[in-house]
């Protein structure tokens, strides 16, 4: 039974959790909101973790708003340091490390875990991932006094960290089995622009190969690659993608595929439980980016406050914060046939993807051409 006097309970204090809370509060000044998080609940911008050095910020300085201020500003009951352990759907309550909490509607904004590739070697457990502020603080501590950083993965996070670390004077090597950086996001010409620009910024690429093992040496670590080569590093960062956190939902019997499956309204297979952000799967896609969260949060807030509103995703370009060659990309839908056209030269490229009917369906901008984002967004047919 849904008891409307029970609060809306949100699990997760990342951008998704806090944004849903804020959007609900905009629509309903009275509705009780409880936000449950295993973390401290301080609000920080996760995308900024990978360019904090350029911003001259340490982990503590990345906190935009302390947890207590967030709770007061939004008007919610914050249960920080409280880990949700089970969803009791029949009773409409969650169990936590600090007792049970009843809900009328539940929002899962629980994020994703970094994927870790199986690595051999006696130092494989020294390979770091940076997925939250605490990880980042530990990463910065380990960086202190070192010079050589190896990054496993040339995706968005790997490239951003590479650029940030190189800019701060570190010697950076990036390893990836693909032939170009950002291979899952960018057409080859744009990937090459990034590859060349970051090489000019001092980043060494080891592309077309993967890391097999990491072993301790007297001075640091030695990575052995699949192509038979080796490289030495003081710090090794793994950035090979995210896997939605699904365990809590799975154990509650909700439908899971790559992520927690949600319908057009953001509802899971239980209509009183919604999911948003990096843990959610919208249609067939997981969208672990800022703009899908902002858009979905506004729709969810309406639905949660009694005005069911489907999530409408506009064109949502992804920004890659690589100052040596900034990138804005709106990937074309995977099921659309078409062709890329290219304008520009060097690192300043404008690539436009058109379908058979000559409609613009995606684009990629690099370097100085990223300034054309707003114009391109308007041209895209979704």
């Amino acid at each position: 039974m849904t008891d409307a006097t029970d609060p809306i309970v949100i699990i997760g204090s990342g951008l998704a959790g806090y944004t849903v809370a804020r959007e609900v509060r905009k629509l309903d000044a009275q509705r009780a909101l409880v936000l449950v998080t295993g973390d401290g609940g301080d609000f920080y911008s996760k995308p900024m973790l990978s360019n904090a050095l350029a911003q001259n910020k340490n982990a503590a300085q990345l906190v935009n708003t302390p947890a207590a201020t967030m709770a007061a500003q939004i008007g919610l009951a914050l249960r920080n340091g409280t880990k949700a352990t089970r969803i009791d759907r029949a009773a409409h309550r969650i169990e936590t490390s600090d007792g049970a909490i009843g809900y009328s509607q539940l929002v899962l904004a629980i994020g994703a875990d970094p994927i870790r590739l199986p690595l051999g070697g006696d130092a494989a457990d020294r390979v770091r991932s940076v997925n939250d502020l605490r990880d980042y603080a530990a990463f910065r501590t380990e960086l202190g006094g070192t010079r050589r950083v190896a990054i496993i993965g040339a995706g968005l996070i790997g490239c951003e960290f590479a650029n940030d670390l190189a800019g701060a004077g570190f010697s950076v090597v990036v390893i990836d089995p693909m032939a170009r950086p950002l291979a899952s996001l960018l057409p080859p010409a744009a990937g090459d622009a990034v590859r060349l620009a970051l090489a000019d910024a001092g980043i060494e690429w080891r592309l077309g190969t993967g890391v097999e093992s990491v072993n301790a040496t007297a001075a640091g670590m030695r990575l052995s690659l699949a192509d038979g080569s080796t490289l030495d590093a003081d710090v090794v960062l793994s950035a090979v993608g995210l896997r939605p956190r699904t365990q809590l939902a799975r154990e509650a019997g909700l439908t899971i595929e790559r992520g927690i499956v949600v319908d057009a309204h953001g509802r899971t297979s239980d209509p009183d439980i919604m999911a948003i952000g990096d843990c959610a799967q919208y249609g067939s896609a997981v969208l672990p980016y800022v703009l899908p969260i902002m858009n979905a949060a506004r729709s969810l807030a309406r639905t949660l406050t009694g005005n069911p509103t489907p999530i409408a995703f506009p064109t949502m370009p992804v920004i890659v914060k690589t100052p040596a060659c900034p990138v804005v990309v709106a990937p074309a839908p995977k099921d659309v046939q078409g062709e890329w056209s290219t304008e520009g030269d060097g690192r300043d490229l404008k690539l436009v993807f058109s379908d058979g009917a000559q409609r613009v369906r995606g684009f990629a901008l690099t370097g100085a051409r990223t300034g054309e984002r707003a114009a391109l967004v308007k041209m895209v047919t979704t």
Partner: protein
């Protein structure tokens, strides 16, 4: 003149300085920033997210 901060990423928009590289002249008030303007750092649209007013 007021100063606004992107709630998502901390980007600062200072009305006094405008954002000439985005074609927004110095002195442009927040309400006069175009509706299709997006945060240069994180891409959040003006319409998607209100910026927070900082003490200037």
């Amino acid at each position: 003149m007021q100063v606004w901060e992107c709630v998502v990423c901390g980007f600062i928009y200072d009305e006094a300085k405008g954002l000439p590289e985005d074609g927004i002249a110095p002195g442009t008030k927040w309400e006069d920033v175009p509706a299709d303007w997006a945060c240069p750092d994180c891409g959040v649209a003006k319409a998607d997210f209100s910026m927070q007013l900082l003490a200037a």
